[in-house]
Symmetry: C2
Subunit: 248 residues, 2 copies
């Protein structure tokens, strides 16, 4: 059995071994329509002062036992752990989990779509750095939200962030890299992309932008309700924090 | 007539308009065997303290009227001009030339393979940042060197830098990004690559690594001779400055 490529993990390991120096290596995000961009992988090692304000807001609100979904090398989880919070991270990247552990985070290789039964239960689920997009399309969202509910304690919250953009924003040249290549597909806005690092590449996947006004539809019929949306228009592009609550 | 893509120029313009801030945008270098890497385009705006030592050495030795071949946004040319040197830059990137001019460099859109007749004559030709690789293969090198000789003043020098690596270095994991994907081809070491920025991409091209020991063969039968090779082993990967002289 061959292991799948782990471009995220390879990049995180390089940066970690360098002592988190900038300029060591970059992650490359390639869209299937020819658009490409890169970012310094050290960004995943930087502290709260560099985070999206909505990500900071989510971390401040995280209470009890916390699951950091898509934790990477522990960008948020290491800070939460250092602050004495009870946080567990999961990521599909083996290298991400390895580095998160080295940085003081209890982390496990797992997908939000298939949570291990022995993961236990949580008061707060975090999907940060626009990871609310991992909910995927309507069908997938339902399965993910139901899976999370099986690991939720009474009164649990799901705090997820994403970019807020409307149909017409795709043509806006100020839109962040990637967003303006999003296409409407069955009523969803998504980009089909893959992530590359040196010779490693993920499979192509669809990253969904879930506009805040769609969340009511996404949660409909699931154990979750939209408690609040906090939109932040202070950044170059509007972002938002969705605060979902487990129905009591 | 449509203009060809100018990924370099697009990136340089972005960085220049930002006031040369880091993290604004990246150039992506894609090899045809699947290897990919990126670098912050701001690197082309940084001063001598960030240059390869062999590039600094070349600039210190540049005298008289200087042609900076592949000048980009004037990484070296702007410093030479500020130091009062008489420098002209050429680059195939329209945006590169535009930004170089804004940064105080007399620059022209031109290829080293087809130098404009009215460019005049020079005492020093610079091929920095590993641009000696632009000499290309044996046949192309001869044409380029003969073309430069037609624009050379008596006693002219060609100061070019490149990475020094041998056949076995390709497997060395410490090799710089790109190098270890180089392949032997008709006795040459090269990478077939293209450069991308957002939706823009160059055509695929071969970038040749010309090991210093091959330079005698490259210059044989041309108006140039190898005067000296300065190899620098202090960097992560050995680089060298080739000092070629016009035969008198």
């Amino acid at each position: 059995m061959t292991m799948p490529d782990d471009p995220f993990g390879d990049a995180y390991r390089c940066v970690h071994e360098s002592g988190a120096e900038p300029g060591v290596t970059h992650l490359v995000y390639e869209m299937d329509d020819g658009y490409i961009y890169a970012e310094d992988a050290v960004n995943y090692f930087h502290g709260p002062e560099t985070w999206l304000p909505v990500d900071r807001m989510a971390c401040e609100r995280a209470t009890g036992r916390i699951l950091d979904i898509g934790c990477g090398p522990g960008r948020h989880g290491s800070v939460l752990a250092r602050d004495g919070k009870d946080v567990v991270g999961i990521d599909t990247s083996r290298g991400g989990v390895e580095v998160a552990r080295l940085r003081g985070v209890e982390a496990h290789v797992a997908s939000v779509s298939e949570l291990p039964e022995d993961l236990g239960t949580f008061d707060t689920f975090l999907m940060l750095g626009a990871n609310l997009g991992l909910l995927g399309d309507q069908e997938n969202s339902r399965a993910v939200l139901e899976g999370l509910a099986r690991h939720a304690r009474p009164g649990a919250r799901l705090l997820g962030t994403n970019m807020a953009f409307a149909e017409e924003s795709r043509a806006d040249p100020r839109a962040p890299q990637g967003v303006h290549t999003a296409r409407a597909h069955s009523g969803e806005e998504f980009v089909r992309m893959r992530v590359r690092h040196r010779t490693a590449a993920t499979d192509w996947f669809d990253f969904l932008f879930c506009p805040p006004e769609r969340l009511e539809k996404v949660t409909h019929g699931t154990p979750w309700t939209v408690h609040a949306i906090h939109q932040d228009d202070s950044t170059a592009w509007p972002t938002y924090l969705a605060d979902l609550r487990l129905e009591s």
